[in-house]
Symmetry: C2
């Protein structure tokens, strides 16, 4: 095969006869997996030519099957004859600047950068289209699981109205460890030791990583562009062993769930509204979400015509993420063009009508249940069940109230009032209960 | 948008400005769902223009949002200016003739015809490519679940070595009803009454439908072209309530599983060999396969780099299948080209090293277990467990033997010998036991 001197526009029309030069920006775990797969699978029409990393000398490997230019100046990569840039640096800057610059030069870009795509995906895709390149980011959500290609190719014909997922492997690892009896701190430490979690685990634990991914899926599945920072995110840190015990009693378990659905309000007001939220939730033991273990990711897409479709697999890790990157590279090399995403800006509300689980820890005295029930009743919230497990000290007594479907905002008002009660040892923990009719079927 | 007078080659280069004329061949459940989605979703670049059916007058509907030519002569459709033919007639002939003729004329074809694609997919794809059209068949396997786009786009970068699935919704409906206590005949009758099963259920029950789908997946996932009729297929008809009882005792349930994996022999002999089989198998209760209920389909793809990826959802029914058809139409309208499948002819063996479940029904007398154990031992097969539930009559006594991993062919030889024992009331039923290390993780 002859080498290509052209940009991706020309390549699309001659996909069978040219070889695309591929440059990798960022040679960490995923970057070296991409190189390894390219050497092993040797996909037709792709040739690894450049690798960039800071202090690149310490990154050099001897197992590459082709000659590669090692660089520590990203501008040299951007100025090179590479046709496709694989951006694996992450973060908004300088990665965003490099991606923009590559697209402006008519190159195509494959990236796993969920933060960049969640924040600037629409604009960058428009830039790619206008310069004749492509921007693919199958690796940005759910790693090796082909959710994005599945949505863009396989479910494009449906009207999707809801998307739910386990989008953060670290949280799923921690919660499934806790389900098996571990304490939060130990599970987190193990995740860090195994390399699943960063030293600063805030992005994962607080749900920020997941909501960037949710924003990307919202655009692709629902056609609704949402700002990730507007999605209410709850941390999994307050979850304790006691919550798994109570969840079990309710025939549920606990998972970090990201969900977005088109609001029924949308049609009446004309502006698309998305009900979106990320955080630990009670999921029924019969839900596919309850089956996911370890760092697995899972996405359930609900369509008007196709019903629920479930995708699951390895959402993180070098190799699975690299599979998504190489698959995107092959799509470009084969001249495949994705079905264009038609989307519009949307507003976000975290307000949903759902059952909730509320766990209190109190210093016991008479009248507590009446006071809590009164606080809920004043916001029109009905109690479903009251659960109290034996064997806890009276000065740190945990018990759980489940409430019938109520809006998140009404519940917040009730808990603001109840939170002032002198008997409370800590702020009550409220979790949404995911039910079959609310997905997770 | 102006209408297209050109064939699909030109359309690919002008996907944004032309509208493709779509003709539907076969206006049954799926065909009318396709029309309904096209009217509802109104995907850009697609216009329904022709509908063909025998005795088309009785098929006319009044809810179409666009003028359509109703025809009962397929040749008129093929001779029309339709750009894309949606073939939903099924079967090899005349559907195959019509598809070939459309592709020869440079039209693109979208089909749900698994029989045709399993038998002639390679040749028809070559024909499409040579004439500048496309042949897409996402609806041929697992209905609305985007397994084919997922494999072709999202997992193309991996080296897949195994594919396993629940590919027949009718069998899954029957077996999950039996799991809940129904008898085979009643479950089948209910499936027929609900329209899931044909009056002649042989294709479904005997595994012929599933193995055609397995042959298609083998080519896409493993790059191995196999003849469906060479894949050993076992019927689910002999499964009884007693088998679910014993399976449960082994912490398993029973599902119709289709599986194909690259044989370890492949590399040594040069010719690709695929271990493939379809039939009822014991699957662990912890396997995703055990969670599938009703007419659901599920596919698990195992890759060298990405590990296991699970797809599940509605594998059958008018609407889900139509979603796959419309998604393929949109891919053509948007000028998307799939990653080309690189495949080669492969041989098939049903011989696998697996644990097996063998259920005997005997007229009790002393010495039976010794005779059976002897028959197995003479083929080098070790017994794992012997299960016998109380409460059955002595002249029709069921019991189960599980055996350690042995080749299917050795087991067949042993059962041929054991089958001659005078105590047997019916031929022993042997089922493969799917284990995590053999997939179904």
């Amino acid at each position: 095969m002859s080498e290509s001197k052209t940009s991706s526009v020309a390549l699309e029309n001659s996909a069978d006869s040219r070889t695309l030069k591929v440059a990798i920006l960022g040679f960490g775990t995923v970057g070296s997996s991409v190189a390894r797969i390219l050497c092993d699978v040797q996909p037709r029409g792709l040739e690894l030519t450049h690798i960039f990393n800071r202090n690149v000398a310490r990154k050099r490997v001897d197992w590459l099957s082709c000659p590669v230019v090692w660089l520590e100046d990203a501008d040299q990569v951007l100025a090179s004859d590479a046709d496709v840039i694989v951006e694996l640096v992450g973060g908004l800057d300088p990665a965003g600047r490099w991606v923009r610059s590559a697209l402006e030069a008519g190159k195509s870009v494959v990236t796993a950068n969920k933060k960049l795509i969640a924040a600037h995906g629409v604009e960058l895709e428009e830039l790619a289209t206008s310069r004749g390149g492509q921007l693919l980011y199958g690796a940005a959500v759910a790693g090796g699981i082909p959710v994005i290609p599945g949505l863009r190719q396989g479910l494009a014909g449906d009207k999707c109205n809801r998307i739910e997922g386990i989008l953060n492997g670290t949280c799923n690892f921690i919660l499934s460890k806790m389900e098996a009896g571990a304490e939060f701190a130990d599970a987190l430490a193990e995740a860090q030791w195994l390399g699943f979690a960063e030293a600063d685990s805030t992005e994962d634990v607080a749900g920020y990583d997941a909501r960037a991914k949710l924003a990307i899926l919202s655009r692709i599945a629902l056609g609704a562009e949402i700002a990730p920072e507007l999605v209410p995110a709850g941390s999994i840190a307050p979850i304790g062993a006691i919550d798994f015990a109570y969840a079990h009693q309710l025939k549920c378990t606990i998972r970090q769930i990201s969900r977005a659905q088109l609001s029924p309000e949308t049609s009446s007001v004309g502006v698309t509204q998305v009900q979106a939220t990320v955080g630990p939730m009670l999921v029924p033991e019969a839900s596919p979400f309850a089956w996911s273990r370890g760092t697995e990711n899972m996405v359930i897409v609900t369509g008007k015509y196709g019903g629920d479709t479930v995708f699951s697999g390895h959402g993180a890790g070098g190799h699975p993420t690299a599979v998504a990157v190489v698959s995107d590279l092959m799509a470009i090399a084969h001249g495949s063009r994705s079905v264009a995403i038609i989307s519009q800006k949307a507003t976000v509300t975290g307000d949903l009508l759902l059952r909730h689980y509320i766990r209190f820890i109190v210093k016991d005295r008479p009248g507590i249940v009446a006071e809590i029930a009164g606080g809920l009743a004043r916001q029109g919230i009905n109690i479903g069940a009251l659960l109290q497990r034996p064997g806890y000290p009276e000065d740190r007594l945990p018990f759980v109230v489940t409430v019938e479907p109520c809006s998140t905002s009404a519940l917040k008002r009730a808990l603001d009032e109840i939170g002032k009660l002198d008997c409370l040892v800590e702020r009550p923990l409220e979790l949404q209960i995911l039910e079959p009719e609310n997905g997770a079927g």
